[in-house]
Amino acid sequence: MGRGPSLAGDSGAPALSVEHLSKRFGDRVAFDDVSFAVGHGEVFGFLGPNGAGKTTTVRTLGTLIAPTSGTATVAGLPLTPENGVEIRRRISIMPESPGLYLRLSVTENLEYFAGLYEVPDAADRIGRALRAVNLADRAHDACGTLSKGLRQRLALARALLSDPQLLFLDEPTAGLDPVAARDVHQLIATLSRSGVTIFLTTHRLEEAERLCDRVAILNTTLRTIGRPDTLRERLFAKTLTVRTLAALPDPGAVFAGLPAVDGWHQDGLATYVLAVSDQAVAAPAATRALVAAGADVLSVSESHHSLEDVYLELIDQDQEASQG
């Protein structure tokens, strides 16, 4: 992100702070002992499998449901029933389902919400919100005639009406085609540049990787939190992948004793994965050793682990733990 998000805003407090928050429905735990903070202007990704508690967390922070235990500060206000109205005035939530009045027109939908937020100069604000999501030309159409992607964009326009400090987006691209999803991504990036703090729950890991400053992975409890690249480093050892034209006759002799190479294993007929402590030192050394051994080198590349790898690794660990 071009603009550096800060955990503490002008007031010295983060935009969102959660400490040991839990929610149970009877015996069922929706989420448990969740703690994190989101800085002002940050795009914060909240990932997790179905049933992990993501939507319930958003609903709790949006004052729709009460936490069972723990505390939170949302947009500068403690999460208490007394602060519900004022918190909801400062934030905006776009639920997973757009929840539009399909019989009403685009403008009529927005007029209603402008009234609920007591937005001053509503007509102007509605016009701006519609232009922001490229829906101005459909302003008088009934919502029922809009495609799924356009409805999602209208729901985003509705969420923008109140100029929120903190915007919760719950699966904003669920069910959208790639073009519509790209439009939503661009809008999120624009909002982020304008200083809005965004709390994004998503299943799309490439979306989180592209848009988010930091991500948290929730699976009832918070599994990890950090920048996507930090999470990759934390979870996976640094590796180099070496591909040669033919299998090496004695790979142990080639890779043993190389500087910054801690170990190796063969991954396929002529592919070798080296565990390294410093890729910048190990890569040239490995290349020289391969050439000296007479190998035809196809590539020596840094192994790339995506956020998806991190996510799957953590969820697999949870599944193994629950089975074992």
């Binding site: 429905f25 729709l64 449901i65 639920p95 009045y101 009403l104 007029e111 209603y112 009234g115 007591e118």
Partner: protein, 242 residues
């Protein structure tokens, strides 16, 4: 805490716009008044002049209080469960609107058209009776105190029915069931009106004042009680808040 007129007005306006586009609600608002209009007209037109003295013992006009008893209950029964079923309730509850404001906006949106329809039906009935009924029958039916009671009790009865309808709507899972229960629950008010109309319960000024006061208090309390019982968490998750 102060009620925001703008949020109530926004809800009221949105509800009226939805009614306009919702054939189901328009049908509900039309069918019951027609029943309450046509049936008495047929009876009145068929009455010979010799039966007119008998009419002066009853208060047949008050029978039509069934309109404000039943119509708003059926409409109000849609208010919450209808939104929940179409998935629009959650976005509304994420805004700063308070429970009492939301319910007041919805109640007013059920009240205003219901009362307007009731008054329009009364006016039509009076016009038909004045123009086409036998003069003796007309003069026996159209009496000042009955007209005044009709006019005053219409919004009071409608208000009571609306809170019953909304109470059902917040608990129901299906709007058709809510509507049927709403109509059923509003029947006692209609039955009381009918018993008075047919002089089974003899109306006196004292009874009228007592009933009006009870309805007025009930309408005010209905709003407060419903606002207190409106559970966001249960409506969103179908699980009572802990």
């Amino acid at each position: 805490m102060r009620v925001s007129r703008r949020r109530v007005r926004a809800t009221f306006r949105k509800e009226l716009r939805e009614y306009r586009h919702n054939g189901f609600i328009v049908w509900t608002m039309a069918i019951f008044p027609l029943i309450f209009l046509i049936q008495p007209l047929v009876i009145v037109f068929a009455l010979p002049a010799s039966e007119a003295p008998g009419l002066s013992h009853g208060h047949l006009l008050l029978y039509m209080l069934g309109i404000p008893a039943i119509v708003p209950a059926a409409v109000a029964a849609y208010a919450v469960v209808g939104e929940r079923q179409q998935g629009t309730l959650e976005p509304v509850l994420t805004t700063p609107i308070r429970r009492d404001e939301l319910l007041l906006g919805k109640a007013l949106a059920a009240l205003v058209p219901s009362v307007a329809i009731a008054y329009a039906v009364y006016a039509l009935f009076l016009a038909c009776v004045g123009l086409f009924a036998r003069p003796a029958v007309a003069s026996a039916l159209l009496r000042g105190p009955d007209l005044l009671a009709q006019a005053l009790f219409t919004p009071l009865v409608a208000g009571w029915s609306i809170w019953i309808g909304i109470a059902i709507s917040t608990r129901a899972n299906d709007f058709r069931v809510a509507q049927q229960l709403g109509i059923l629950a509003s029947l006692p008010s209609a039955v009381v009106a009918a018993l008075i109309a047919f002089d089974v319960i003899h109306p006196t000024l004292g009874l009228a004042v007592a009933l009006a006061a009870a309805l007025l208090v009930g309408d005010g309390l209905g709003w407060r009680i419903m606002a207190a019982a409106f559970d966001r968490e249960r409506l969103i998750t179908r699980t009572a808040s802990s």
